[in-house]
């Protein structure tokens, strides 16, 4: 089952094992400069709000209602990273797609797992995912852009602006395999149809600036995953105007720019994943043009405040360390 808890998606598989639960949340962050330089990891600035699509069914376009799942607000050109947390160390395979194109392999969405090329990340080995796997050890940051302008990964890969949003499917490790691993290591609302007041244009995710982040190879093998039990969720992304019209809530404020953040002396992060092997970048994703590159070609300036920054304060985080904390609460951030 998937439930919403404190703006995070909690995936539980009690039919597989009582420990089989993990949490996925979407972190607000600053957008790294899209200047073809490689940056370390930016901070987390608190999670994006999430709401059940069904709570606002009467105000939503039919296509949004049909998909189910949850809704999340993002400003145009705002960046985001995905945080994975598990309570017990229970391993999971997680597929992430944007606009129904896989963020790891670039291939069209399928509900099952593929190993060659690997199209999923493995928890708890992978604590977060910041963008598209474009090269070995390099991702391009997830940046929200309106569908239909040609910037999103979906439009660049498929030529169509059809889905937008984010898609997730989670597979737990097989119960027997988990036990061996442990031993070795010690309500749908049927609302009346009323005219919908929200325009159906959705937001999608596009490749932004380059960042150093490894996507780890699956150390367990495809056979470790319980492919009979999976849970999936569609995350619809609403722009700030839509979000307020739908929920009556104000969206979070626009995060500081990379320059403002860096000049305030706040830290960036590097993650050392130990001996883990990184997967190669996906050929399809490598060919994607970033938002800034595409904007230049179109004669547009889609990214405000895209100046390069010199990062001097970098905090190292390690896989075996005590915390992998790269998150700030909002009152810890210095706003200009």
């Amino acid at each position: 089952m998937i439930t919403l808890k404190n703006d995070s998606l909690e995936f539980r598989f009690p039919e597989v094992h009582r420990d089989a639960r993990c949490t996925i949340e979407f972190q607000r962050t600053l957008r790294i400069p899209d200047d073809n330089r490689d940056y370390p990891l930016p901070p987390g600035l608190d999670s994006f709000p999430l709401r059940h699509i069904d709570d606002f069914a009467r105000r939503l376009p039919e296509q949004w209602r049909r998909r189910g799942g949850v809704i999340m607000p993002m400003h145009q050109a705002e960046a985001m990273w995905i945080s994975f947390e598990d309570y017990s160390g229970y391993p999971f395979a997680v597929k992430i797609a944007t606009g129904k194109s896989c963020a790891i392999s670039g291939n069209p969405w399928v509900n099952h797992l593929n190993k060659d090329p690997q199209d999923y990340v493995v928890l708890p080995e992978q604590p977060w995912l910041d963008g598209y796997c474009v090269e070995k050890g390099i991702i391009r940051q997830f940046v929200a852009m309106p569908l239909g302008k040609g910037y999103t990964a979906e439009e660049q890969l498929t030529g169509a602006a059809q889905h937008g949003g984010l898609q997730i499917v989670v597979f737990p490790m097989k119960r027997k395999r988990y036990k061996r691993l442990m031993a070795r290591s010690s309500l749908t609302l049927h609302s009346p149809q009323v005219p919908c007041c929200i325009s159906p244009e959705s937001m999608g995710l596009a490749p932004g600036g380059r960042m150093r982040q490894e996507i780890h190879e699956d150390p367990y093998g495809l056979d470790a995953w319980d492919r009979q039990h999976s849970r999936r969720c569609f995350v619809t992304i609403a722009n700030s105007t839509q979000w307020t019209a739908i929920t009556g809530e104000r969206p979070p404020t626009v995060p500081p720019s990379a320059l403002e953040y860096t000049e305030a002396g706040l830290p960036w992060f590097e993650w050392y994943g130990g001996d883990a092997v990184a997967v190669d970048g996906a050929k399809k994703l490598e060919k994607l043009a970033s938002v800034a590159q595409l904007g230049k070609k179109k004669g547009e300036a889609p990214l405000p405040e895209n100046e390069s920054v010199e990062v001097t304060r970098v905090v190292g985080l390690s896989a075996g360390g005590a915390t992998l904390d790269r998150e700030f609460t909002s009152d810890e951030i210095l706003r200009p």
Binding site: T3, G69, L187
Partner: protein
């Protein structure tokens, strides 16, 4: 020593066995309180800390914030607000479910619906 203090000390010391960053001093500094204050909390010499500090401590120690708040004799502010908005409904709901086994409660929890996509 209170149950709250004993629980967090046990958990912190367990983590400290494998990672030196879970010393009393380092944990206190990471959650923004004085080490001497955390020491007193662990020994039950003072009342459990504020909700915000308890939640930070829960995140730091990998514990569930609601469980730690319950040990501290508190209910989180967001839950209080939910009940205050519809007190009659939620009071009735909670009373009716108080004896229900865990697996039955899980059926009541609202799931995120998967649709067609």
């Amino acid at each position: 020593m209170t149950h709250f203090g004993k629980s967090i000390r046990t958990r912190r010391e367990h983590l400290h066995l494998e990672d030196k960053r879970y010393s009393l001093r380092q944990v206190a500094l990471r959650i923004g309180i004085e080490p001497a204050y955390l020491s007193k909390i662990e020994r039950g010499e003072v009342s459990p800390p504020s909700e915000a500090t308890t939640v930070r401590l829960a995140h730091e120690l990998g514990e569930d914030p609601d469980v730690l708040l319950a040990l501290a004799g508190k209910v989180s502010g967001d839950l209080q607000n939910i009940i205050r908005k519809r007190p009659k409904l939620f009071a009735e709901l909670i009373r009716q479910l108080k004896e229900a086994p865990d697996h039955a409660l899980l059926h009541v929890v609202r799931e995120v619906r998967d649709g067609e996509w």
